[in-house]
Structure formats: C-alpha cells, structure tokens
C-alpha cells in the first residue's frame, strides 16, 4: 500500500512530538492496565528468596474468591470476609464527606466578605491541605494519643477533670471515627472551600437584592438563592470526594495505625498493598484493584447520568 507523501510527512512530524509521551504512556499506562487484567486471572506469587515467579492460570478463581459466597450449615459466608470488611471500612470512612462539604461551605460563607484578615484566615484553613503527608499524620497521631494527646487533654479540661477522654486510636470502635474527624479537620479548608469561594463570587448580587425586596431574610436567602446556585459545585465536590474516597486512605492508615487496631482502619487501598507488596499475591491484588476500578467506573457513570438532570446550573 502506498502512503500519500503529504500524509507521510504529517506522520513523521506528529511522531516527533507525540512519541516521547506516547512511549511512556504505552509502557507505564496502557500496557500495565492490560497486564493487570491478565494477571487477575492468574495466581502469581513473587517468591521472596530469589526472583522467581510462580504463575498459574486459574481462570475466574481470584474473582470467585474475592466476591463469592458459600453456604455453611445454612448461613451464607463470604469466601474472603476480609475484603468485605475492608470495603465496609472504606465506605464507613466516606462519612467524612457530608462533614467536609458542610464545613467547607461554612468556612467559605464566613470568609466571603470584606473583612480584615481575610488572607490570614483562608491561608490558615488551607494549611492542613498543603501539609498533608507523613509529617501531618504523625502529628495527628500525637494529637489523638489516648494518654497525653492534645485532644484528650482538652476534653479533660472542659469536663473539669471528670472525664479522661476517649481511647481514640486504640479502640476499634472509635478508630474510624477518629479518622473521620482527622480528615474533616484536614480537608474542610481545602479544595471544597476554594471552589465554594469561587462559586460564591459568581452569584450575581441582583439575586440577593431581588430576594430582599421580596422580604426574604438572610436564612431564606441562603436556602433560596445561595444554596441552589452552589448546586453544581456541591455536586462536583461530592463526586470527586466519592471517587477519591474509595482509592485513598493508605498513607494515613499506614502512618497512624498500620491499619489497626484489629484491622479497623484498613481500607481497600491498604488491602491491595498488603496482598501485593507484603504477601506477594500479585494476581489476587490485581483482581482487587480491578474491583476498585469497577466501583470508580460505576460512580462516574451514575454521576454523569444523574448530574445533568438534577443539578440546577443557573
């Protein structure tokens, strides 16, 4: 087949620009995606001693082990109860989302006016977002320490010494709640607040004037003007938080609790880490990561379908 010389020249020029990125894209994105799908049908264990792989095609076994159930004397039991437990942990920690969103909206509403120290306040609220990382998580581990942590000292002082405080990170029933509080503290002045601030500035002032002419007080103005106008932002922040929420949490748990106590802060991302890099079950870990991928796809698809209809775009 002969190629038109003009097209040939186009291709040569285009490949000069595209190839550096495309080779990397091929090697570090496309190929790994395909390889990971293939891996999820294999039992692939990396043996610790020498770099020897043991590969075995197992068909759908990884997925039946991950998602399947069996009947044990009439009671339905999961093949991998750990997975469901960690999925539950991951979903439980999503409870931070309503807290983060409402807190960031409140912060944005408070800052969004002509006051002294506006930059100081917004910078302060944004500080935890900037500092997120091992150092900040280590600090939070110290703040939430059951015996000498700042939080419990504070509770103790406020209850006039009657109450010693909570066993935040030690008690499996409180550890997830601690994480939710921490994440609310970190994220309330973050991206959500910035997006809300930008959105608030885009609401035309006339809407408020019209509302106050109709006799609406501040509260009514908020629910009838501000809140609906912020709809797209709220929706966007919600979806971003949902998608990230299923994937994040590894570093926080790894630094603060190592996933404990009793696995109560182990999330899906941590489970993948354990399976893949601690226990070397690469095939099984790939299967879990694909389950995670499917969750992300479903959220995105639902939000696309739902988003365009229900949200008021002013």
């Amino acid at each position: 087949m002969r190629i038109d010389p003009k097209v040939k020249l186009q291709l040569i020029i285009a490949s000069f620009f595209l190839l550096p990125n495309f080779i990397g894209f091929l090697l570090f994105t496309l190929f790994p995606i395909a390889a990971s799908l293939v891996l999820s049908f294999f039992q692939c264990d990396l043996l610790q001693t020498k770099d020897i792989f043991s590969w075995k095609f197992v068909g759908l076994e990884n997925f039946t082990k991950l998602l399947g159930f069996y009947r044990d004397s009439g009671i339905l039991k999961a093949n991998d109860p750990e997975f469901w437990r960690y999925l539950w942990n991951t979903i439980y920690l999503l409870l931070k989302i309503p807290l983060v969103i409402s807190a960031s909206l409140i912060l944005a509403l408070l800052i969004n006016r002509n006051i002294k120290g506006r930059v100081f306040f917004s910078t302060s609220f944004f500080l935890p977002t900037i500092c997120t990382g091992t150092a900040l998580y280590m600090l939070l581990r110290w703040i939430f320490n059951a015996d000498f942590g700042l939080l419990n000292l504070f509770i103790n002082k406020f209850s006039l010494g009657k109450f010693e405080g909570f066993k935040w990170l030690v008690d499996p029933n409180l550890s997830k709640l601690s994480f939710i509080f921490m994440n609310t503290w970190i994220e309330m002045g973050g991206l959500g607040m910035l997006l809300y601030l930008a959105a608030l500035q885009n609401i035309p002032q006339e809407y408020y004037e019209a509302a106050s002419l109709d006799g609406a007080d501040t509260w009514e103005q908020f629910w009838n003007v501000t809140f609906p106008m912020l709809g797209p932002t709220t929706f966007f922040v919600l979806i971003m938080n949902l998608i990230n929420g299923f994937q994040e949490g590894f570093q926080q748990a790894h630094v603060i609790t190592q996933g404990g106590p009793a696995g109560s802060t182990t999330m899906l991302s941590y489970y993948i880490y354990n399976q893949a890099y601690v226990w070397n079950h690469m095939g099984y870990a790939s299967a879990i990561s694909w389950a995670l991928f499917v969750i992300v796809i479903v959220i995105t698809a639902v939000s696309w379908k739902f988003g365009s209809k229900k949200v008021f775009y002013g």
């Binding site: 186009q10 495309f22 894209f25 500080l127 002045g189 991206l191 994937q247 570093q251 893949a276 870990a285």
Partner: protein, 305 residues
C-alpha cells in the same frame, strides 16, 4: 437607624469570633507540634501540660538529624520531584502540541485513549510496573552476562542506588514522567491560542518545532506553571510508590524516611515532632510565598483531574 448599625456590628463581631475559633482549631495542633519538639523528652508526659516548654531545648533537632539522613531525604525529594516535573513538562507539552496543532490520521482516537485512562486507579497500573521493575535487572544480567544491573552505583562516596529496578532513582522517577492528565491539561490550553500567530510564523519560515518552542510555549506559561506546581506537589507527596521501591534509607524521600523514623522511635514524641517540624517548615514557607499560585493550581487540578 442606630439600631440597625448595632445589629450589623454584632453580626460582624460574631463572624470574627467564629473565624477566630475555627482558625484556632486549625492552628492549635501545629503550635502543639512546635511546643512538643522543643521539650525535653521526659517532660511531654507531665500534667498539666505546658504550652511554653520549661526548660526549652533544641536537642531534639540535633537528635533527629543524627538519627536519620534527613539532608539526604531532602535531596532525594527535591531531585525526584524536580526531574518528574521537568519530564512531564517536556513530554506533555510536546504531545499536547501534536494533539492541538497538528493534523494526522488517528489523532482523535489516540487522544480518546489518553482520556479513557484518566479514571484508572493507580493501584491497577502499579502492580505490573512493580513486577517488571523487580524482574528486569536479573533478566538483563543473564541476557548480557554481567552483574552490572544488580550492582550498587557510587558517585564518589555518594550512593546512587542500583541502575534499574528496585532501589533505583530510575524506578522512582521515570514511571511518572509521562502523564495523560498533564497532556490533557496543556492541550486544553493550547487549543485556545489563536491560529494567526502560527500562520504568521509559518510565513516567516518557521517549522513546527520552532512554532512550538518560540510561540506556543511562551504563550502557555500560565498553563505550564500550573502543571509544574501540581506535578511537583504530587511528586513531593508521593508515598506508596517510594515505599515499595526505595528499600535503602539513602534513596528514601522525606515522606518515607519520616515513616521509617517513626518505626524506629515509636513513642519518642519530642523527636518525632522535631522531625515533623523540619519536614513541614520549608513546605509552609514555600506555600506562603507562592500562596496564590498554589490555590490556582489546586483549583485547576480538581476541575480536570
């Protein structure tokens, strides 16, 4: 009318009180971190706790400096993040030029492929990359009959890790130098640049590379700065990948090094907090200097990520 003024004043004052209370909640833990880092190791368990350390001591800072190679950690974090940023700026801007200014068969299909991968969780791609990087040095050794690919490399006395695979700068940097997200971000900006500039340059005899280098890049400075900030911050914060790649402390970036410190001194709080302060201080300084840039980068980052 006077009544109205009074209610307005009360309104403003209550807003200030709310803001100050919230700022206190956010800032108090940071203050506590600094206080703890300046206390003598035994005194953190005293009751009631003191906000001003007595006696005040700097010894935790020298202790932490001796305990782990923090200087090396800084060099690693900076070096790795800078190279990843540079790599992405080059490869993404070149590809974005191809997607926005050039015509060639299959362009839209390839671009769609890029977009489709934006949703894929990093956990999916990390596993195969890890397996390959782990197996590659042994494979190359036996293919070329050397020991080079598993050997330790030095520059003078400076340990620079292995050439490839685990415990190498290669593995820490190269997989992150290509980004579908970065390409997308720059492409969106490049298509807004008017075609007239390009036509005029072509009349003057410029070729595509000259147009890219002399016209598009200077005009796209804001987009490039945004991508650079965003990439650098992400690379600086990266944790999981260096955790599984860097096994020797000499190659650990700060995020992993600090976790390593915590493993060694679990409840030595004054030492741990001194480490936290040392790691956070430059971040806070850089942030307060470039405050506007950061928020802008984060802003754009969420919209397109």
């Amino acid at each position: 009318m006077a009544n109205f003024k009074v209610t307005k004043k009360i309104h403003i004052i209550s807003i200030y009180i709310a803001l100050l209370a919230l700022a206190l909640i956010v800032l108090a833990p940071f203050a506590w971190m600094i206080t703890t880092s300046l206390k003598e190791p035994g005194t953190v368990f005293e009751y009631p706790p003191k906000w001003i350390p007595q006696p005040l001591t700097w010894q935790n800072y020298t202790r932490v400096w001796d305990a782990i190679p923090l200087g090396r950690g800084y060099i690693n974090s900076l070096f790795v993040s800078l190279l990843i940023t540079l790599g992405q700026l080059i490869t993404c801007s070149l590809a974005a030029y191809a997607f926005s200014r050039l015509k060639f068969p299959g362009r839209n299909k390839i671009f769609f492929l890029y977009l489709a991968t934006l949703m894929v969780p990093t956990h999916v791609t990390m596993i195969p990359i890890f397996i390959i990087l782990r197996a590659l040095p042994e494979f190359l050794n036996s293919a070329f009959r050397t020991n080079f690919w598993t050997s330790d490399l030095y520059m003078g006395n400076f340990y620079v890790g292995k050439p490839l695979g685990l415990d190498s700068y290669f593995a820490l940097i190269v997989p992150f130098c290509f980004s579908a997200y970065g390409t997308f971000l720059l492409r969106q900006f490049f298509i807004t640049i008017p075609k007239d500039y390009e036509d005029a340059a072509r009349m003057d005899g410029c070729n595509d590379f000259q147009i890219y280098y002399k016209i598009i890049l200077p005009l796209a400075k804001p987009a490039l700065a945004t991508l650079a900030t965003f990439t650098f911050m992400n690379a600086w914060k990266n944790y999981l990948w260096p955790l599984i790649i860097a096994n020797s402390p000499e190659l650990m970036p700060l995020s992993v090094l600090l976790q390593w410190l915590q493993g060694l001194y679990t409840t030595d709080w004054t030492l741990l907090m001194a480490g936290s302060v040392i790691v956070l201080l430059p971040v806070v300084i850089v942030f307060s200097i470039n405050q506007k840039y950061f928020s802008h980068a984060m802003h754009v980052g969420t919209i397109t990520h």
